[in-house]
Symmetry: C2
Subunit: 363 residues, 2 copies
């Protein structure tokens, strides 16, 4: 189990699942590695010697190949990209308030983070081996072996070929300008911008080009949007892929006591897929009226967008809601009850924190 910074809330140690508090994410374009959420599926973190690590690329390709880390570095150009990763279960706690979600990690607001990732483009590797015309999907297999499927199974998911060939998808060996840490997938992990974090496979060992999506547990059974009342089964529901527009308040903290009067409220918004965030609204009257937040520039095309607004808080308790709009006028739904699903994924309902404002006499 990795050393845990004091700041992280550890939901489980094997697999290691941990998230930072929301306030730790505020105002930092890049999330420090020590504050980046951990979402794992295997009880043990793989420990891989980079000197002997290899990446096998096979399946529907013309020239199956095996690359060492050195070969990847020599053969392909390095690219970097600032990318926000968000777990499909981020904000699950809000869904669990609607109806219980037994056995699911109760993620708060912190299963999201942004880093600068550097490595090679998956597209360059795929072009090098030559993709068969019948190929439709690219399976990504990690060294982590999960016990969740019943019989132990290496973590494997896939992305459609068109996304795999997009220039933003990286096989990354660097995170925030430092070598990728073991806990985050060293020596090489995948980074799939705009998609649920579960597709950004860590400890990558194998890439198999296929003519169908992965049949692995984490794509065929888990990470699927199920209708209420359904239980997970292979192929049931809809596989989650691109993210829908989401946002959260990062500061002040939920439940914070703050002086009444002008109060700066900040957060992030993330459009998902290939959309962008065009507007963020904040309300202190439950959504009856909205104030538009100021949007910061993005650190990168695939990164979250910070927003901020100054609210004039009266003495007493205020509930602050926030919601984001994407570039297709998609907007977050109001109520987690509209979104509740048996695995507790994709809570994109309006964000909210409760603030307690005190007057001068209380200060």
């Amino acid at each position: 189990m990795p050393t845990q910074p004091a700041e992280l809330t550890v939901h489980s140690s094997q697999p290691y699942n941990a998230e930072p508090p929301r306030t730790a994410l505020a105002d930092l374009d890049l999330t420090p590695v020590a504050l980046f959420y951990h979402r794992n599926h295997a009880p043990e973190t793989p420990r891989i010697d980079p000197a002997t690590w290899t990446l096998r690329v096979d399946g529907r390709v013309e020239r199956p190949a095996t690359f060492s880390l050195g070969a990847l570095r020599e053969r392909f150009d390095e690219h970097d990209q600032v990318v926000t990763l968000q777990c499909a279960g981020n904000r699950r706690a809000g869904l669990a308030e609607v109806a219980e979600l037994p056995g699911e990690t109760p993620w708060g607001p912190g299963a999201v983070g942004t880093a600068r990732w550097a490595g090679v483009r998956l597209a360059d590797v795929l072009r090098d081996v030559g993709v068969d015309p019948a190929a439709t999907d690219v399976e990504l297999v990690g060294a982590d072996v999960s016990e969740e499927p019943g019989a132990p199974e290496p973590y494997a998911v896939s992305v459609p070929l068109d996304k795999a060939l997009a220039p933003e998808v990286l096989l990354a060996w660097s995170m925030n300008d430092a070598p990728l840490a073991e806990a985050h997938g060293a020596p090489v992990r995948v980074v799939v911008p705009g998609w649920i974090g579960a597709r950004s496979v860590k400890w990558l060992e194998r890439i198999t080009v296929r003519d169908a999506p992965s049949t692995g547990h984490f794509q065929a059974v888990a990470y699927r949007l199920l209708p209420a009342g359904a239980s997970p089964a292979p192929g049931r529901g809809v596989a989650l892929g691109p993210l829908a527009v989401n946002a959260d308040v990062l500061a002040p903290d939920d439940g914070a006591e703050v002086p009444a009067g002008p109060t700066r409220v900040t957060g992030y918004a993330l459009a998902g897929g290939d959309r962008t965030v065009v507007r963020v609204d904040v309300s202190t009257d439950g959504g009856a009226t909205w104030t538009q937040a100021d949007l910061d520039p993005q650190a990168g095309r695939w990164s979250w967008r910070f927003w901020q607004v100054e609210l004039d808080l009266p003495v007493g308790t205020s509930r602050v809601h926030a919601r984001a709009w994407d570039s297709a006028a998609g907007v977050q739904p109001a109520d987690p009850a509209e979104l509740w699903n048996p695995k507790g994924y994709v809570n994109t309902s309006w964000a909210h924190v409760t603030l307690h404002a005190f007057g001068a006499a209380d200060g």
Copy 2:
């Protein structure tokens, strides 16, 4: 003014704005031309002689050119595509129930339709003239002159270059296997799949490649998502482009009297942008519980998706809600009040009809 089939509701005659009833759209993969909505901005429909019509392509291109209809046909391959067009104001009546929208056409459910369009790819034309590396947007100018901007102005909007170069964007001269009708933009109109209908310029006369979006009224002032309380002004709010996920009930009609018992309810869903519809839910208890509808295959990648469900209606009045999910787990918001905006665009709130079911004794 075109002859109006009896079935259309005419909102205004100059400009001619008309829509079919919802039931006329049900169960038809392709909407008959006579039932296709009309959304115009000029008091007069342009009447263009195809024999003398020309298309000018200029701006940031290497070889500005002028094409006759014959030249377009000879020089470029014909492609066809089944595409659903939806007006940004479709379902506006639902927003007008929240708060009035003076001066805006009160579209019901019918400002949407699907046709097979044939013509040449805009991308092929742009590649032929050679796009300047500094280009970012492609302006499309029609022959229709609108008086809405104050001073008369030809209808002009733009799409970003990457969309303009996408293979699905057509310069179409055929609609449902017949020559494009004058009322729908003859001799040549643009079809921009996945985007608000307002970008699919009719009576196309000029294409200007630019390094900025169009500054024409219908992109800089109209067709923008404004915050509540704002009035239209150049650059204010957010230009509408790709559509967000939407759906409607098409049959039975709103207010219909039907026999109690098993009742087939059908409708369409449209994901918008480049997303797809993955699920449609129907509720008879205001969204407390949902039944998943059956999804029909799509007639084309860019067409709507029909859905159907059999509901067991009790005697009395039922309100049937429907909502669609897209491939990024984006879902329609519940309430039009969440979406109300001063120009009354993009009402993507849950669809609904009220049905009155009568028993055997009433039959």
